[in-house]
Symmetry: C2
Subunit: 164 residues, 2 copies
């Protein structure tokens, strides 16, 4: 995991609330990508030996709300995608939506100065809180971009990247 | 393009210099993804009617250094990928490296308070400076993730996402 050597911030380039809004905007787009998948292919299709998009979404669910909760209250989450199981697209979207609500609530508990502190994310990855949050967001964009290729390969037009 | 409704930042969650380091870390990874492509496939391979990875990199070159220069000194760049042509992987990497240097120089000219101002990026996309910068970074992660699928489909192991 990336480590940012933190300089002492003077004027902020982004506020905590804007960063959450930015992430939730991305999560709304990822939700639409999940919705765009045909039910069967969500759980079965892949390219080049990679994971299915369902398995990538399991990783995103493992990191997002549990990752934010750890930052908010110190609860160390388990590093196991298998905790986030769905048997249908509808079930997967329900898990997604529950995390959206939980993240909004837990984020409000994080004081601004916390972002420059060091955290051992999931009991395994040391870094500043801000670099950890950016990792969770960037990892979502990375895998969602892969989902776009799966959709195109399946002949499905994905949602526009710039619409949040 | 996404618009963030800016709240007045109090304590910073990330400094301007850390944000640049974050972006340049991503750009270093994207450089290694370009390097990982076989020469011919960089310019010819695609999946599902999408662009080649070369054409995606042209878009990244159009946005990155020219986008930062506009924020730094107001120069409105042209919205044309065709300005960034390379006939080989080596030429493409040279264009990439020249932008890395230019971005470091121009970024230093951007005062912290600038990030909350409104900009008409490329004369076409209105938003706050911070949301515009995040768009450039996120767009790079998105297309690089697609490059990972191309590499896997070609039987090439891509560089680790978490190494910057």
């Amino acid at each position: 995991m990336e480590t940012i050597t933190s300089t002492t911030p003077t004027t902020s380039v982004i506020s905590s609330q804007d960063l959450l809004a930015h992430w939730q905007g991305h999560r709304g787009l990822t939700r639409r990508v999940i919705e765009a998948f045909p039910e069967k292919e969500l759980f079965e299709f892949s390219i080049g030996g990679m994971r299915t998009f369902y398995k990538m979404v399991q990783e995103l669910l493992m990191l997002a709300a549990p990752g934010v909760k750890q930052i908010a209250d110190g609860t160390v989450p388990q590093l196991s995608e298998e905790l986030y199981q769905a048997n249908s697209k509808e079930e997967l979207l329900s898990l997604w939506d529950a995390q959206t609500t939980a993240m909004d609530q837990d984020w409000g508990l994080i004081p601004d100065q916390k972002f420059q502190e060091t955290i051992l994310a999931f009991g395994a990855y040391e870094g500043s809180v801000i670099s950890t949050v950016l990792y969770y967001i960037d990892n979502e964009i990375h895998h969602r971009g892969q989902g776009y290729v799966y959709l195109r390969a399946l002949g499905v037009t994905p949602p526009n990247f710039y619409e949040r």
